[in-house]
Amino acid sequence: MPWKETDYLPSYEELTVPELTLTTPVMRAGALHFGKYCDNQCKEFMLCYYETMDPRKCLNEGKEVTRCGFEFFGKVKKHCADEFTKFHECIDFSSRDLIFKPCKKQQKIFDVCMREKVGIERPPVGYFSLTRVHHTERPKHTLPKIPLPDPIPDPPSVEGRIPKHKYWPKRGLFS
């Protein structure tokens, strides 16, 4: 491995946070509202990662995303447990690839509950597939500058040293 003793790697204590232990149907059922509720944190995290391409520098943003996920699913459990259970069970047992199509009825009931009790509106279809703009206060990540080697000297002048071809056109594109 390329990590030296001096290189920074986060310690185990930094990496140990409570993780969301939810299965895929549950995640899929709550995904759209979660994306709306934690929009800012998610965008911040993904922007950070795609700027740095370095997981070490985006751990705090990632923890923030997970914390927001806990907050969101806690709210769902507190206010809309029944509707949510019906919805994710429908998603789980209706199709192989966990699509929303057979569960539009349950989704509508869940939407109404989320709107009235938690106050999260489901974003229109295609909201997350579009490009979203994010404004952040975090300074843009730039790699540290390293001293470059001296530039290669210019080649000597060739003026007058190339013989003129006898049959080359005097005027034109390649003259």
Binding site: W3, M53, L59, F128, S129
Partner: protein
């Protein structure tokens, strides 16, 4: 075989058979405009229905795509933490393994750096390197995990 009981001779119907229909029958010709018009009408109707259905189906697909994108940061954050833990475990393992080798420095080949990494960029190792300190079947299970389900 022949008996007088239920025996009846098979005969033509009373009054004889009808006349044989031998004349050539030409079906009534349909107007060419009618043929082409009905073709265009049916095709247009089918196309409209198809586009309508396609829009609905694409909407369903788009919603699933939305859901996948929305939860991706959650998975990504957790995956990063697991990855960093694995990197750290690998470094600890290497330190433990090479402690009796004189002149060995961590992350280098006897003091010579393996990578040109002056800007402190993150190194994304291959699967073989990440799982170097595990059993062979661990990397096998990881690489072919998708075949399990």
């Amino acid at each position: 075989m022949a008996s007088s009981g239920g025996y009846t001779q098979d005969l033509p119907p009373q009054g004889g058979y009808g006349p044989i229909d031998w004349a050539k029958r030409i079906p009534k010709r349909v107007n060419g405009f009618m043929v082409f018009g009905s073709f265009i009408a049916f095709t247009t109707a089918a196309w409209v229905i198809f586009m309508h259905r396609r829009r609905i189906e694409k909407g369903h697909d788009l919603e699933v795509n939305d859901a996948r994108i929305a939860v991706h940061p959650l998975y990504e954050a957790e995956r990063h933490r697991m990855l960093m833990r694995l990197h750290r475990q690998n470094r600890d393992e290497e330190r433990e393994l090479m402690k009796n080798v004189p002149g060995w420095e961590l992350g280098t080949f006897y003091g010579e750096p393996v990578f040109y990494n002056m800007r402190e960029r993150f190194y994304h190792p291959t699967l073989e390197e990440l799982y170097a300190h595990t059993k062979w079947y661990d990397i096998y299970n990881k690489a072919f995990e998708k075949l399990e389900h």
